[in-house]
């Protein structure tokens, strides 16, 4: 049976086993219908022109993992920012792991989507936010909505500065020959509140995994949200990350995506503006090789005056790897005095590596500052010669240059331990040990 049919036929069985109130049931039913109509996206669609799911969908994915697996913390410690104290919401093969997690209800909710969806005390919040900003049209988001049951639920009341970063971690054990997981996260950040969140999807062996994740982020007035995505996975791992951000006035939301691995990664990152004088930041570093594929598909929808958005994506592609950057900026007529900047800089190191970069600007306001710039190049030979002349061997010189290239994005990481971790991953990726901590 093809995966699509398998999913549709599992839907009824899925709904029977969970306790859902009727509004949710309606949402899910509409969602599965949309997925049934549209199916998995193909390269025929403009937005999927450079990314094909065909090969991946041939796997016989288990849709619901059979049983709960436990992992020892010491075996997976390295994937956490363990140098500092953090809240942790950890899932193993899609199932919540209470012994690896560190959740809270004191002053803020850092807990489980399943309880938020099922417990009456959360009903008002769920009704107000769940599936409100996520697309009802996009088929993979609909597929996730239909099966949405587990993930991270984070609700920060107003005037709260969350003292510790929150880590959301999805492990796949590879106990199933092939596994499909569909995490669903909801993040609500109240007025004047501040939170830092780190999200990671990590498989523990090479068995194929397809993660179709949806995250909704709501930033209220003057909220500050720093969201970091670490993608450094095995070659069996495939990730489709659908993130939807809703921003109210004077809020600052940044989503920084560090893509180093996996077989195929697609980041659909969408920002919607519902207020003036707010700032959206979308940054990314992609360093891949082999036959890896990373596709960044971004949208910033400017709908109110005096807002700013900044996009800065750096990519380094070796071997046969391919990258896609499609950045859409939409400026509505009302959104006067918009500042929207977009940059995509890429270095191709392999003879067979490719980048498809496509900026899309649709501007209907007349008093705006919008810019975009895509560059594709090789490493600067003069800079290489300069460093070699000072005694730095070619390989190290190359690494230093690539580090320098990604530095503008790295500098934006506000958690020092995370910054250190990212630079370490980069050094490892580039295969060098440089005489100082990058």
């Amino acid at each position: 049976m093809e995966l699509k049919e398998k999913l549709i036929s599992s839907f009824m069985a899925f709904e029977e086993q969970i306790d859902v109130h009727s509004e949710l049931h309606d949402l899910r039913t509409a969602a599965i219908k949309n997925f049934e109509n549209k199916g998995f996206p193909t390269k025929k669609e403009e937005s999927w022109k450079y990314t094909s799911l065909n090969a991946i969908l041939k796997n016989d994915f288990t849709v619901f993992p059979k049983s709960e697996t436990s992992i020892e913390f010491k075996d997976v410690k390295k994937y956490f920012i363990h140098e500092i104290d953090t809240y942790k919401i950890v899932f193993i093969d899609g199932v919540f792991s209470s012994n690896l997690s560190s959740t809270t209800h004191q002053g803020l909710d850092v807990c489980l989507m399943s309880s938020a969806l099922n417990k009456p005390k959360y009903k008002m919040v769920i009704d107000a936010y769940f599936n409100q900003i996520a697309s009802k049209d996009e088929s993979l988001t609909s597929l996730n909505t239909a099966f949405a049951n587990e993930g991270a639920y984070i609700n920060i009341p107003k005037k709260t500065v969350v003292q510790k970063p929150i880590e959301i971690m999805y492990f796949s054990t590879g106990n199933e020959a092939a596994l499909l997981v569909q995490p669903r996260n909801l993040v609500i950040v109240g007025e004047n509140s501040h939170v830092q969140i780190i999200e990671r999807h990590q498989s523990l062996n090479e068995n194929p995994v397809l993660t179709n994740s949806v995250t909704e982020i709501f930033a209220q007035k003057r909220a500050i949200v720093d969201f970091y995505k670490i993608q450094n996975d095995h070659l069996g791992a495939n990730l489709i990350d659908n993130t939807y951000v809703s921003q109210k006035q004077e809020s600052h939301v940044s989503v920084q995506t560090f893509s180093f691995g996996g077989n195929l990664t697609r980041n659909n990152l969408n920002f919607y503006h519902f207020g003036e004088r707010l700032t959206s930041t979308l940054n990314g570093i992609t360093i891949i090789g082999d036959k890896q594929h990373v596709d960044h598909y971004t949208l910033v929808h400017h709908a109110a005056p005096n807002c700013e958005s900044f996009q800065d994506y750096k990519g380094i592609f070796s071997d046969n790897s391919t990258g896609v950057f499609n950045g859409k900026v939409y400026v509505e007529k009302e959104a006067q005095k918009t500042n929207a900047f977009q940059k995509s800089n890429n270095i191709l190191l392999g003879d067979k590596s490719t980048i498809n970069a496509k900026p899309q600007l649709e501007i209907f306001a007349d008093d705006v500052k919008c810019s975009h710039g895509c560059t594709v190049g090789q490493l600067d030979e003069t800079a290489m010669f300069y460093m070699q002349q000072r005694g730095i061997p070619k390989k190290e010189a190359k690494a230093l240059l690539m580090y320098a290239f990604s530095n503008a994005v790295i500098e934006n990481i506000k958690i020092p331990e995370l910054k250190q971790r990212i630079t370490k991953i980069i050094a490892l990726k580039l295969g060098v040990k440089i005489g100082f901590d990058l």
């Binding site: 460093m387 000072r390 005489g435």
Partner: protein, 250 residues
Amino acid sequence: MLSIKNLHASIGDKEILKGINLEVKAGEVHAIMGPNGAGKSTLSAIIAGNENYEVTDGEIFLDNEDISELAPEERAHKGVFLSFQYPVEIPGVSVTNFMRTAINETRKANGQEEMPANEMLKVIREKSELLEIDRKFLSRSLNEGFSGGEKKRNEIFQMAMLEPKLAILDETDSGLDIDALRIVANGVNKLKSDKNAIVVITHYQRLLDYIVPDFVHVLYNGKIVKSGTKELAYELEEKGYDWIKQEQEA
């Protein structure tokens, strides 16, 4: 120390050096002068191993070892230093970290231990004082946003840190005001010893008032057409390069 024999080099189809011969002994300062396009910068780039140029004939010896086939970093490890006319900006890598990497890679290549951190700091302090460099400057990204003078001073600071056998200063005076020129020249003079040698490449005589050469060579159209002592530089300053051109074409 440096011995260049019948060096021919080209970039693409264009021959730029057409048979250069040059002998530089330890303890000497040589100046290479010449009009724009004579091949001065090409010569310095080739000695340092820039792979954009193709050496079509001839050899380059450093202490009797042919270095013509070595990679730039291998030449650097043997003590060749080139002060760039246009130093490259490297954002995100501080001057200190760059130097630490350069020094330790050189030491590693020469079978030495890494320089201990406290010693490194001490040397950095000494050498930065020599070039009158503010300590804050050292934590800035290499050459990024540096003024022309700061870039050149930073080049000589790196030379002081690496203590090369052979230093080639390519148009080090360009973009320098008189104070910076004095500081740079003073630094170079303090680094001069009977164990190393300096080749100064310059268009103007001005720098040679500060770094006094033992020999002056005139490069024109890919060849050394005249050699002499420092008086030759004054003669050039007075008569201009047209004098050389006319002599050559006559």
